[in-house]
Amino acid sequence: MAFDEKTEGFNVVGTRPDRPDGIDKVTGRASYGADASKAGMLHGAILRSPHAHAVIKSINLDKALALKGVKGVVTRADFAEGLTGENWNVLENVMAGEKALYDGHAVAAVAATSQLIARDALKLIEVDYEPIPHVTDVDKAMQPDAPVIREGQASKAVPAGMHPNVVDYHESGHGDVEAGFAEADLVMERTFTTEATHQGYIEPHACLATLGGDGRGELWCCTQGHWNVQKICAALVGIEQSALRVTASEIGGGFGGKTAVFIEPVALALSRKTNRPVKIAMPRADVFKATGPTASTSMDVKIGLKKDGTMTAAWGEFRSQGGAFPGSPFSFTAMCAFAPYALENVKQIGYDVMTNRPKQAAYRAPGSPMAAFAVESLLDEMCNQMGLDPLEVRLKNASKQGTKASFGPTWDRIGLVECLEAAKEHSHYAAPVPEGAGRGISCGFWFNHGGETSVTLAMSEDGTAQLMLGTPDIGGSRASMAMMAAEELGIPYEHVRATVADTATLGYNEVSHGSRVTYASGLATIEAARDTVKKLCARAAAKWGIDEDAVVWRDGCAVPSGPNAGDFDPLPIGQICRKMGATGGPIVGHYEATPEGAGVSFAVHIVDATVDRETGATSVDRYTVIQDAGKAIHPDYVEGQYQGGAAQGIGWALNEEYIYGEDGRLQNAGFLDYRIPVASDLPMIDTVIVEVPNPGHPYGVRGVGETSICPPLAAIANAVSNAAGVRMKDLPMRPSRILDALDG
């Protein structure tokens, strides 16, 4: 796909205007998932398994149904039958069938006239469980004696002889790894582990559903992708896709976790059963127990390094559990591991493993942060041992345009070298490491994504524009889309109103994931605006009686393309639009496509940390993020993504983890003991926006949302290891682990 590129001379792009939804969000007016109501609405609640693994022998609903105010109960029998593939997996996760597969697995749901009655009714549902052996650890789940989650799930790629819990396999690379190791002056192999972490969005999943006997429904929910919700829910409750209109509410954080459905089909089923609107808002404990954390991993990594810092070979095996279903990001972990480096000999292997844990969901650059933790930690240890500067070694081996990537493709224009150079020049890296502190750096990589996208831009008679987008705004995207539209149309930013349209009013849009929104919806916005401009120019051409090609668009006006085109005064957008009814009808621009030029992005993080050697407590004292954005449309929100990713990474590195007891039950299903960073835990997070344009976007935009969480795990582990003088190979680096490591 070729685009008219524009890389300089911007009027709006690169500025920092107020976001259009700002006032709504600071006054409490903005309407999120749980904020909608309807007349006659019921409240739904979901009963969940207290067992990690159990056969459901029977469910008795009589007492619950007898409670005053209870209007209906649903179980698996109230959903579609005969589903296959991922639809079956999602249904099985949304409402258990024959077995409860993890602590928190839904088994029944009730709708009642109040939240309190609904919750009371759950206590009256009698489920007869037969607990069976369970496994929650990825390595144990691969052992021959591990309990089988479900037979027959393995893909054809899985090597023969593996446990049925191993359901998928990845292998990629090039060159001769053993020969590469033989050339090295130092070869080191280490094992690393990371625990499962949750996206931790502050807004629990919530929805309001209406579904009548005629099979037509309305659904309001907080989601990263409402067409996806439409598609899956329609299948799970057995109605036609277009019969279900889904509206995306304001969304209170997603980070990948709201790309899946959990409660929406349940609310629809309850609504159909009761013939009333049903709202479900998940309690926080349910969010932790039953919505997607990311995978936990166990990883072996081996690198060969020459005295001059050249990496001669790299090998890694990455084992990843994604709960009781196939689908952990094991292949992304493997593919991202060595992506920052130009390697002649590289091989990576990945395993997807099932356990008795909740079905994993995407979490910001799924799979990549763990890989970076393993590779970048080992590299740091090797640099220390060989007395090499860790930044220089990374620069020496950095991938660049033309490098054959570790997982196959040849890189187009990429910005890793520019990020490393910026890190080297940054005052943070130049400053001496403070007394008692340790410094860590790390690179990180993420693919970024394009995906199906549809945008409509409709002109109003006063020359202002309505921009209809299909990607839920998870971080200020309405502002950046309006900026790109304003840039193209040559009108003030405030004259563009950007709206996230519902599924009944725009073509299909893939989920807001893969850091795709500013890239793909942005590209579509620019192209829709250019389509609009073409139509505006045509109206001017008709008025002037000249050829359409003889009109160009400049600063919000149609103007003749040159002296030969004719001598006409510029025709402003407002004048063209005011007459549009009489000059050919509404002026509307469109763009529908699946853009595939999302440029990959790299980041480099620098961290200073100190460790209390008596208690094992860690303090992150200074933090700098350097990342390639391609082109920053609204720099405030680019910086915000960098800072947010770093903060989530800090939590993952130090304190966040899913803690399972011997009984396979989750021990910390709340923000009290699932410890995300609080304001007093963090320093200011400095940011540097590097701009190496992406050839696949008209303005050079690369996705920025995900790459920022790739380096922090390793950067912090390196800082802590260097401060403590011992290598930390397991995350999180909780204080007891650090003390144990210091004890040797």
Partner: protein
Amino acid sequence: MIQVSTTINGDEHQFVCDPRETLLDVLRDRLGLTGAKEGCGTGDCGACTVEIGGRPVCSCLMLGAEAEGKEITTVEGIADGEDLHPLQVNFIKHAALQCGICTPGILVATKALLEENPNPTETEVRYWLAGNLCRCTGYDKIIRAVMETAAEMRENA
């Protein structure tokens, strides 16, 4: 059911509620004031923060019945009509929100801070807001917006 009279954002309200209902339940489900959010229901996230007697309170950790005779300010009551509070202006200007779900609680909590301490240090702001979880921003721009507002309000005082 319990009958309760209270003042919210300067307006008198009467409501009846189950004794188990929290103030947050009452605000959202009975009075239609959905600005306060439920992020956890257990006082860990601060998204439901309201102000009572000049102090921030988690409305999820207070019964509706306990609101009898109280004067309560929610996020809906921070602006003076169309005139935004300086904190609201600066949160928008400094991009101190991404998804915005934590914003109501943070604004209410911060307003109470600046009324008690017009000249807080960065550390004081961070500790005051430790009970207001934000997962999007890393807190950086929030802290900057608060510090900037405090400075502005001191200048204009």
